[in-house]
Amino acid sequence: MPNYNMSSKLGKQLIFDFIKERMKDKKITQLRLSELIEINESTLIRNLKGETEMLLTTYLKICGALELRPYLIPSEIDENEFKRLFFN
């Protein structure tokens, strides 16, 4: 059985780094983002620090607020760098 633990750990960090870069580009602070997606500010901060697990609903709300598309792409047609870095 393949083990996806490491890919999930690295993938999570990649996603959080990407979200933070997007926040800088859009000039949105964590406080503002927490207001936009209607969750507690400290919950969001702990999520993004990796201290607590982020709910899928929170992730999708973040995608909405930051105008990101959370596509699920079949690996056989994926040419994104995540293919190499994430699940190989």
Partner: protein
């Protein structure tokens, strides 16, 4: 002619590198703050690489327009655009602990102190560049929307 949009207050952030158990120097909290909390984290994490310290605290303050050193803020905006820096005049301030990383530190405390007079290496007494106060206020407003 477009009017400058005035704000009551704006929230600024600053990271302070600390060792475990070390106290914040409240007589010199620093003049350089940023509009972007993510940049304050990046600055402590990546740029300074913790500077050999155990962790950091990010402070936040609410400041009004009359607390800003516009010459140095505009200079920074021109030379360090990606830092979203706002330079605050030397004065007494009340900060909130916004985020703690790597050390034990009470996240709910209020820190009272002075921003100090640490004139940084490229401190300017008068800005002569092309940017205007309106440009800076527009940047500030982008973070408040």
């Amino acid at each position: 002619m477009q009017l400058i949009q005035h704000l009551e207050t704006m929230k600024l952030f600053r990271s302070i590198l600390l060792n475990e158990g070390e106290e914040i120097n409240t007589s010199n909290l620093g003049n350089s703050w940023t509009l972007c909390d993510i940049f304050a984290e990046d600055h402590a994490d990546d740029i300074n690489g913790f500077h050999g310290k155990d962790g950091y605290v990010i402070l936040s303050i609410d400041v009004s327009e009359n607390m800003i050193d516009f010459d140095n803020s505009l200079f920074s905006m021109e030379h360090r655009k990606n830092e979203f820096e706002i330079v605050v005049d030397s004065q007494d301030v009340e900060c909130e602990v916004y985020l703690v990383q790597g050390i034990e530190f009470d996240e709910n405390q209020i820190i009272k102190g002075n921003t100090g007079s640490n004139e940084f290496e490229d401190y300017t007494t008068e800005y002569h560049g092309d940017l205007t106060k309106k440009d800076l206020m527009n940047l500030i407003n982008e973070f408040q929307d």
